[in-house]
Symmetry: C2
Subunit: 199 residues, 2 copies
Amino acid sequence: MNPLVKTLHDIHPLSSDARESLEKTLQKVVIEKEEFILREGQVCHRLFFIEAGCFRGYYHKDGKEITHWFGFEKDIVTSFNSFINKTASIEHIQALETSVCWSISYNELYQLYDDFPEVERLGRITCEQYYIKLEDRYVNAQFQTATERYNKMLANTPHILQRIPLGHIASYLGISQETLSRIRAKGMNSKNSEQTHRS
Amino acid sequence: MNPLVKTLHDIHPLSSDARESLEKTLQKVVIEKEEFILREGQVCHRLFFIEAGCFRGYYHKDGKEITHWFGFEKDIVTSFNSFINKTASIEHIQALETSVCWSISYNELYQLYDDFPEVERLGRITCEQYYIKLEDRYVNAQFQTATERYNKMLANTPHILQRIPLGHIASYLGISQETLSRIRAKGMNSKNSEQTHRS
DNA sequence: TTTCCTTTTTGACATATGTCAAAAAAGCCA
DNA sequence: TGGCTTTTTTGACATATGTCAAAAAGGAAA
């Protein structure tokens, strides 16, 4: 079974008709490292489900790149506002590793919503889950110190630290790379010493 | 017609059966200024649609209150994570003015989702819209300066500044009240002089 | 108006983080 | 291995914002 369909089916059961339509619609696509699936200013017409690899979304501010999200295996990637409202995207979406995805267009997805209420339910549930994750990130972002944000990342999503250059991570945390470096240096002596074990 | 039902119907048409069920289910409730509809630690079992009035969501950090959202007329208010996942809420929800709301319980809502695909569609669309708004706030929160955040608020949601004490707004913007006061003082001389016109 | 209470502003100083430049370390590959 | 590039760290200094305390301003009620 297509891995996305399996993931969805585990969240909420799909009829065999819905499964079949989904499988027929999803397109497999391989994106090379550094390649873009969306550029600032374009309208995002597709969703991507990551089977393997990772992506980042970023935009430019004062000449600097601001990375505001990462996507990994089992994540759904799109420029949300652009996809839903058909507006020009403010962000670039770039593969950080050569990645394997399953992709569906806006029109295909909405046809499935019309044909299969279970699919629309999955759409609703998925959106709710992403909302909750974003809300958590939001509270972190605005109301915790940089050190707290880094430590939370170390505790909750250490895989990000292992796969992504620190420059992107600093940007994601909303601090300069130098500040991130200093936060890491301080943490070294204490119990959170896993960084020292890298080979 | 119930104002929430009208708002929903304008987004996506509801069958008369669905409208009727909704109207039957929604409970009108008046909440006094300063009163809470949810306390930290409780599970949030209900959604509230604001017909008139306003609310804030806040939690405590280092002994201080952190306000992380406001809700006004036509907004839907709940502790999202708690409502969806039935977990203890980390936030308090408090009326900032005496408010009139329409309320529905989790079980009632999910019964409507089962009975009427149009209602579930509205649930999906509403969630998508709230996601987009939150994403915008997130990008603001983490990647703009306090002055930029304040000016954006002045441009996009001036009604908030007129209805809510500056202490709450400073907290919402992620800065101290003193810093907000200084930002406002600086803006005074320039074109954004609307604060000076207050009677 | 006068008093009282709340909200907002101002001042002095402390701290976190940013910026720019350079050094050090790590990764890559011929 | 040696040389080249990229990534990460370190240092010196600038700036934004926080904290605490007090003053000023604004609102409500007698």
